[in-house]
């Protein structure tokens, strides 16, 4: 555990050092390959007066809303498909097909249907998460060991209470991995949508920030935004998901 972190940190430092060396050697034009210093100052400037902080918060709020809607919808639809054979067959097919469509490819349609606005971006986020999430939930539900269902029926759970009482906790390892996949996809889908839309009227997100920096040929700014994206992703992965994992499947001794 400790050792892994040491490895990773040493690697990151090495990459940064090499970056700076390449910059000093001036192998590439500074425009393409900015110094660490200029990236760092773009970062601080962005947060200080470029509105980067606000944009991050705005992006996060869109993401969170889409995420919650997507997860709830995935649970409801997968739950129904547990109850009805017909629905299950059809929903399985829908999931397999829709999962193939990249979120960005939905953007033209989304714009046509609901115009340019927050709802459109939220729709893209929902689209990114609902299918992998449904797949994981359904896989998880169908691999719940028979004995848990029998015990559940024996101690008085019915068809419906069995869902929350047995299926969800028993399938939690699958559900969690679905959330992780969904999170990564939603995060990427969101940034792409924002870059394509620009502002949505009510606010601008981090994708817009990148787009602006690119148009202004402020490459250090683009790198700064990428760093922010990676940092947020890492915090969610290493802090939020780890925390959930530690308090659920690891504590229960299920899953990997």
């Amino acid at each position: 555990m400790k050792k892994r972190f040491v490895h990773q940190i040493v690697f990151i430092i090495a990459v940064l050092a090499m970056w700076q060396v390449i910059y000093e050697l001036q192998l590439f034009p500074a425009l393409m390959f900015p110094s660490l210093g200029s990236i760092f100052s773009a970062l601080t400037e962005g947060f200080a007066d470029g509105g980067l902080g606000e944009m991050v918060l705005y992006s996060m709020s869109l993401l969170l809303r889409g995420f919650v809607i997507g997860i709830v919808a995935a649970f409801v639809l997968s739950g129904i498909s547990m109850m009805s054979r017909t629905f299950c067959d059809i929903y399985n097919m829908i999931v397999s097909m829709c999962d193939l469509i990249p979120g960005v490819a939905m953007i033209p349609l989304a714009i046509l249907w609901i115009g340019i606005g927050e709802e459109t971006i939220i729709l893209i986020v929902v689209h990114s998460i609902i299918w992998p999430m449904s797949r994981s939930i359904m896989d998880g539900f169908s691999s719940v060991p028979k004995i848990y269902k029998e015990v559940g029926a024996n101690i008085g759970l019915n068809r419906y209470s069995m869902l929350l009482g047995i299926y969800v906790p028993a399938a939690f390892a699958h559900i969690l991995s679905g959330i992780k996949v969904g999170w990564a996809r939603a995060w990427r889908g969101l940034i792409s949508a924002e870059m394509i839309f620009g502002t949505t009227g009510s606010g601008a997100g981090i994708g817009w920030f990148i787009f602006m920096k690119r148009t202004n040929v402020d490459i250090a700014g683009v790198f700064a935004a990428l760093l922010v994206i990676v940092a947020i992703g890492a915090v969610v992965e290493y802090v939020v998901f780890r925390y959930i994992e530690k308090n659920t499947i690891r504590k229960w001794g299920i899953g990997k």
């Binding site: 229960w252 001794g253 299920i254």
Partner: protein
Amino acid sequence: MTPILKVENLVKRFHDEMSYGQGEILKDLNFEMQRGEFVCILGPSGCGKSTFLRCIGGFEGYEGTLAVNGECVTGPGTDRIMVFQEFSQLLPWKTVEKNVQYPLKLQGCKDKKKLQEISDLYLEKVDLLEYRKFYPHQLSGGMKQRTAIARALALKPEIILMDEPFASLDAMSRNHLQAELYQIHQKEKVSVIFITHNIQEAICLGTRILVMSKNGEIKVDMMNPLPKPVTPSSEKYGEMWDLLHDALYEAGGEEKE
């Protein structure tokens, strides 16, 4: 008085490609059990003991009649609590005590203090009180089975169905749990069906003993004549042991030496 359990012409087949012949696991079983009886079932491995118990529990479809308290068995219910043969029967996401409390909650017992009292009482009986905060994956096989027993007892079902619950225990805790179970049975007048491979266990616990044969029939069905508590030094213990041992040998279809 209606018998607590009435089995008439019970036949069990598994309908899958694997079972050749007629695939009849249980052949025309007839059996009647009165309230408060402690029935021990002996039989060679694979003769259908677990299958029989699972039919009573409502976990398997069957042909024939199977009535608990005069009512036909159509599915699982809290009046018949099963202690399964598998170690994995505890809910891994709940601690030992929550595993015991959860079914009670489902039965409508909402009072936290009461729940705690009940789970403490029964965990004490199976010697697991100090492990009450553990999760199932932190327990040994025998400890898991004991938790499952506590869960079943706490629910006070009409019939407890136990499938080799003590098979993985050492002799000491086995004796101790046998005594506990017998006391609970005496005190609470619960009816028990108990599968075991251990003749001694059947003689010590059972008020009635069945021996099933390899082809899924009840071969011996007898009241246990030995007065409780039974010890190996009880009068007629040896005779009884020999009788069951011979019956088991024949049931297994093997020659006696």
